[in-house]
Symmetry: C2
Subunit: 313 residues, 2 copies
């Protein structure tokens, strides 16, 4: 963990009003914005601002056609400026952030971002460099199965980004070597790896919400869930002690999407209350799109909310 | 001189590869870009980069129509981001600079600026705040008579910025209170105040180059010109010991535009050689527009070149 010393130095020299930065990294169409949006709404615009680091593209869509790399490549992004801006935000300073218009593929007028108590940073490469990683209190990597990501990407890019299905498939093929080289390796720097997927071997109806598997690495102090998760909740959620890909011990939280919604809600209330919060969990959590909800997403966001509020204390 | 302590602190803690920043401040159409351009060409793109801080406009031309202030007003500019970027450049770091397109009045895609050995910063408000002033080794304010500035502004804005003469005149009137409140007061923070103007009482032909009056404030160490300026050069150039508007002693260098070009060239060579440079002064100095030259401009630029090279030693 090479970042630890830097993080500790930062913590030790911190003023009290330093913002808390959360990174949500992952490949294109892995659900980063959906995850971020629920948290942002739960905290409210007074306390929270989101930044997408894909805005730091060095070349626009037209220019990229003449390059032999894609938008995923670090050389296609102002990584040094991204690092600089993350450091500025982490030390409480405003930035004039570049803006990439996904609907047209053009780089347009930049916008002022003033840090709030919480800054959610999402994108393709927020964990790519040591200096960028040192700016975050909590880091998340989203890692759905590739076939699910493909479905999500086609659905989004054909409706919101002006591509057709054939173009999206071709792009996924072109991007694969760079995903493997630059995006997926960031997974090893995440405190929490989140995988939304169906449970293998089950024959659930097609509109069953995906389950979530959250690998909780010991790089940050997770809440003690062993007391919260009563045996009666076992069907909706359970912790499993396993080993990380490098052999280190790790807890994995399994959150099942197929259980009746009431069971999930009981779990959510228990977690919310165990985190010392009164009342119901924020209703903005768990929303996938207007009217469509996922209880495993709610529980994922609840856990992140815990870490944000804990880091800000 | 409230900046001095900051400047000294900066000098004391400086690494050796810190860029030298020169500020050229002044109202709209006072010749800032012309002055900067000759210096930039003399130093070459490997050693020198220019930045216009008018790019830090907060509102574009369309949006400004709904505001009750003009582009000169600090509230119409991201002053805090300008300060931040000047500090980054002064400490040798790159910036992603906003870009204001003067021909359309739109804010467009930002551009990467990597500091060079010399960074020339020109614009309306580079000396507006204490923090921005502390970033510069040398500061210049351009202060031509108002009727000359008006002629220059009409000539430029009607050919390059899409305005007609009536609009320019109306704009000058609208802007006057803000010029008085925010632009002209920066003059008091300049190490060198430059005034291009005809000599009162002379009846020179209309195409006679303007003379230059350079107030050399003791806020920086100017070269000793008393030895260079031989009595035979008196007609082309002379120093005059006077008092600043606040009563402090100051040297004023008078450079006459009406003398034969050969006399000016002799002076230029003498200054160039006194500055320890061999050969002819750079031919890019003194150019007002393609084919049109001013020897007083050459001498002004020579003096600034001296300060830049001296500060970089």
């Amino acid at each position: 963990m090479p970042d630890k010393a830097i993080r500790m130095t930062r913590a030790a020299t911190d003023g009290r009003n330093r913002p808390v930065l959360l990174a949500i990294a992952g490949d294109s169409a892995t659900g980063k914005t959906t995850l971020a949006h629920g948290l942002e709404r739960a905290l409210g615009p007074e306390r929270c601002v989101s930044v997408c680091v894909d805005d730091y593209h060095r070349y626009d869509r037209q220019e990229r056609k003449t390059k032999d790399f894609t938008a995923l490549h670090p050389d296609c992004n102002y990584i040094d400026i991204m690092e600089q801006h993350l450091q500025l935000l982490a030390t409480g300073q405003p930035i004039l952030k570049p803006v990439y218009d996904h609907s047209t593929g053009e780089l347009i007028r930049p916008e002022l971002v003033e840090p709030r108590e919480f800054v959610i940073v999402e994108g393709l490469l927020p964990l790519f460099t040591k200096l960028s990683r040192a700016c975050f209190e909590v880091t998340v990597f989203l890692n759905p199965p590739e076939d699910i990501r493909r479905t999500w990407k086609i659905a989004r890019d054909t409706t919101k980004r002006g591509y057709d299905e054939e173009q999206v498939n071709a792009e996924l093929t072109t991007r694969e070597p760079e995903s493997a080289a630059f995006i997926r390796p960031q997974q090893s720097f995440a405190d929490i790896v989140v995988r939304f997927a169906p449970i293998p071997g089950r024959d659930d109806p097609p509109d069953t919400p995906l389950s979530a598997e959250l690998m909780l690495r010991p790089t940050i102090r997770h809440p003690d869930l062993t007391g919260v998760l009563a045996p009666t909740m076992q069907r909706a959620i359970h912790l499993k002690l396993t080993r990380d890909s490098d052999g280190r011990p790790v807890d994995t939280l399994h959150v099942h999407g197929y259980v009746p919604i009431e069971e999930s809600r009981t779990v959510q209330k228990a977690i919310w209350s165990a985190l010392g919060r009164a009342g119901e969990p924020p209703s903005s959590l768990g929303e996938l799109s207007p009217g469509k909800r996922s209880e495993p997403m709610t529980i994922t966001q609840l856990l992140l909310l815990y870490h944000l509020l804990d880091a800000a204390r």
